[in-house]
């Protein structure tokens, strides 16, 4: 229905709706609320991410940055709201989405090599029971080349440095060949060389018209790296182009006060639940 409007009517003539959720946005989040053990960690998130942007998700510890990504990817249950990828539920658009989890989320002592991990990005395309073949490994090696560690392809993952491990995860997402990427703290605890490699890669993805959401913790580099910013602290404090949104005032709103009212309310709810 709204698709019809978009195509047929000029933008200015579009009937005014309460929320302007354009159906073709790479990611549109509507009224999303997430709770852990009934304690809400994200309240009423409403977002439309425009195509081809490099988006930084910024906020203090415990603001729900990772939770937002995980909720978009259906990794955790949501209390209410919906998430759409290019106008359809995430479950139907998985092949368009790439994911870089936090590096600490896996056991790097696992007996696989870098190229094995990158090849996991192709598993879904392979489908059930089909084994990884030589041509898939070639794709994986190319992805490793793109992040600058092609020479480490056959090394066991525990023998890589933290930055190299991070790049393995990025290469795996590249192998997924997606148009919308979610990256959970890719810059956390990496060396300078890796940081540069990641920035180059992000610019490269942007140049190809892909949309990337990055959870980021270093305020000093936000303006430099991202052209769109979501300031998050359990709710969306502000979202939009970096130069408009990344202001002192908004930052104070997002970071000010150790325990925001929302956090206190959440705590009270949990207590009431227990008692």
């Amino acid at each position: 229905m709204s698709d019809f409007h978009n195509k047929m009517a000029p933008a200015s003539d579009r009937p005014a709706v309460e929320e302007d959720h354009s159906p073709d946005a790479p990611l549109s989040i509507h009224d999303l609320t997430v709770a852990y053990h009934r304690k809400p960690v994200l309240w009423d998130i409403d977002l439309d991410i425009p195509e081809g942007k490099l988006v930084g998700i910024v906020g203090p510890n415990g603001a729900g940055k990772s939770t937002l990504i995980k909720a978009c990817l259906n990794l955790i249950p949501t209390a209410s709201g919906k998430v759409q990828v290019y106008g359809k539920p995430y479950g139907k658009q998985r092949s368009l989405v790439g994911y870089v989890p936090q590096r600490e989320s896996v056991d790097w002592d696992f007996p696989v090599s870098a190229v094995d991990v990158v090849a996991m990005g192709l598993y879904r395309k392979l489908g059930w029971f089909r084994p990884v073949r030589k041509k898939h490994k070639e794709v994986a090696r190319e992805a490793l080349e793109r992040v600058g560690i092609g020479h480490l392809a056959d090394r066991q993952i525990s023998q890589l440095s933290g930055g190299q491990q991070q790049r393995v995860f990025l290469a795996r997402a590249l192998a997924q060949d997606a148009t919308l990427y979610f990256m959970d703290e890719p810059f956390a605890a990496v060396d300078a060389a890796t940081e540069r490699a990641i920035v180059t890669l992000l610019q490269d993805l942007k140049g190809k018209g892909k949309t990337t959401l990055v959870v980021h913790h270093d305020l000093a580099t936000v303006a430099q790296y991202f052209d769109w910013v979501i300031l998050l602290n359990m709710r969306v404090v502000a979202a939009g182009p970096t130069e408009e949104v990344f202001t002192q005032e908004n930052l104070r709103k997002a970071y000010g006060g150790k325990l925001s009212l929302l956090a206190e309310a959440g705590h009270a709810l949990t207590q009431a639940d227990r008692g």
Binding site: Y99, P101, P111, M120, Y123, W128, Q156
Partner: protein
């Protein structure tokens, strides 16, 4: 972790005691075979008997040993995934939860068919109650705030206790001989009819094939559950499939290994294989082979010495391979690790020595306003420079001479060789670069810097040194930051 193990150990000891009582009761019913210690003792088999068993010449041994070997292959494979998923205790809960199912299946068999000892019926009962046990663990975990390990501990002991109670009741059932059911607890290489052999081997082969087919899926499940879920893999279905494979191996192993020890047969080969390789495919293959070999040897030995329960022997065989692997394993064995630790220690000792010599020489240049030349220094100076004992110094110097870094001019003095001087210059410089970096960039208290610098400087790569140089903007040899601080103090 400690607490959990302690809890499990205690629990198990009690249960085993309980089973012992039960078996004594059963033994009263059975005719007493042994009267003296001598007949109870283990008789060593003749060479011919050993040869017959190893080469599987007897029909019955052939069936038993072959089925145990196939079981070993399957449990080695499935166990790898169980280990990598960090669900070992879940496998233990599952196997213990099988016991009530065996008893109930026997009762049902007797009442419905008049005969309770059909292996297929007993094993179906075991599978069902094993899976019910796992289901209860998940139920407890998901509906309460009780954590995984506690839930498994509860289910494990409650189900096992219920099983022991049911087996006790079965003994008093009229018209039914339940003797032999207790073998499911500790395992026994019983005689086997061909139909049972087909059943057991068939299930094991199916489990084997399934885990090979599901290799890719189980790998991503074990390595990165979140990523697997984001790709749309049904993680809970995969988890259930893995547990069904574990259940299949457990149930097949019930008769030969017994439900208490089956978990060792699942985990030990996988853990042993991990010491030899960093490649999952090799690990799977090796683990299957280790499982198969220990099954074959264990069942064979048990066939030779019937008083030794098969389960115990099989597990001991696997444990033997495990310990050998732990020590000699080529990828992460103890020996290899201690060798590389020794190599690192030797390297650190050498670097300390060279830096000490260099620093003493440096002091001489400063005090006597010489240009940097390789002046001889005395042992005494060296001994006072660091907290070294005379023996340590002697050993380090001997090694330095051997490596052509040090020239011992006479008994009292020594100096660096040409290659040693270059090495000493490089090492000292790296040390100072790192120290200065810690001072200026990492906010570490000055008194802590030397110690921290010591541990890292020895592993600085050329790339990291270049990074340090550009960060600190230093090309030549910097002054020691400690020296600078001392001089400053003196000036004030």
């Amino acid at each position: 972790m400690m607490k959990r193990n302690h809890f499990r150990g205690l629990n198990r000891a009690m249960l085993i005691g309980f089973v012992g009582l039960l078996q004594q009761q059963m033994a009263v019913a059975a005719p007493r075979e042994f009267s003296s210690l001598q007949t109870r003792g283990v008789e060593w088999p003749t060479f011919e008997a050993i040869w017959e068993v190893i080469t599987l010449q007897q029909y019955n041994t052939r069936l038993v040993v072959t089925s145990t070997l196939i079981l070993g292959l399957a449990s080695g494979l499935v166990g790898c995934f169980l280990l990598l998923r960090k669900r070992s205790l879940m496998g233990d809960a599952l196997s213990h939860a099988c016991l009530p199912g065996i008893g109930i299946a026997f009762i049902l068999g007797v009442t419905l068919f008049g005969e309770g000892k059909s292996l297929a019926v007993l094993l179906i009962g075991a599978t069902v109650s094993g899976l019910v046990g796992v289901g209860s663990v998940l139920l407890i975990r998901n509906t309460s705030r009780i954590k995984d390990d506690a839930a498994m501990g509860i289910v494990l002991s409650v189900f096992f206790g219920a099983g022991v109670a049911i087996l006790g009741m079965v003994q008093s059932m009229p018209g039914a001989s339940a003797a032999g059911l207790e073998y499911f607890i500790f395992g026994k290489t019983a005689s086997m009819v061909f139909r049972d052999f087909l059943l057991l081997s068939g299930v094991a082969v199916v489990a084997l094939i399934c885990s090979i087919l599901l290799m890719k899926e189980l790998t991503i499940l074990c390595f990165d559950e979140g990523f697997a879920r984001s790709q749309g893999w049904p993680v809970s279905v995969l988890d259930i499939l893995m547990l069904i494979l574990v259940a299949a191996v457990t149930v097949v192993g019930l008769q030969a290994v017994g439900l208490i020890l089956i978990i060792a047969f699942l985990i030990t080969p996988a853990a042993a294989a991990r010491f030899w390789t960093n490649d999952l495919r090799v690990m799977l293959l090796l683990s299957a082979v280790i499982g198969g070999v220990s099954g074959w040897l264990g069942a064979g030995i048990s066939a030779l010495l019937p008083r030794l329960p098969a389960g115990a022997v099989i597990v001991l065989m696997a444990a033997l391979i495990f310990f050998v692997s732990m020590i000699f394993g080529s990828a992460r064995g103890v020996l290899r690790r201690s060798l590389s630790m020794r190599r690192l220690r030797a390297k650190i000792g050498r670097q300390h020595l060279l830096r000490a010599v260099f620093e003493i020489q440096e002091r001489t240049w400063r005090d006597e306003s010489l240009r940097p030349i390789n002046v001889p220094i005395s042992y005494q100076e060296l001994l006072h420079h660091r907290t070294w004992s005379a023996r340590q110094v002697k050993r380090l110097v001997r090694r330095g001479v051997h490596e052509d870094h040090i020239e011992a001019t006479d008994g009292q003095t020594l100096r660096l060789s040409e290659s040693g001087f270059g090495e000493a210059y490089r090492i000292t410089r790296n040390h100072r670069l790192w120290e200065i970096f810690l001072f200026t960039h990492a906010d570490i208290a000055a008194s802590h810097v030397d110690r921290d610098a010591d541990s890292v400087e020895h592993i600085l790569s050329a790339e990291m040194v270049r990074e340090l140089e550009s960060k600190l903007n230093m090309a030549s040899m910097p002054e020691s930051p400690h020296e600078i601080a001392r001089l400053k103090k003196e000036m004030v």
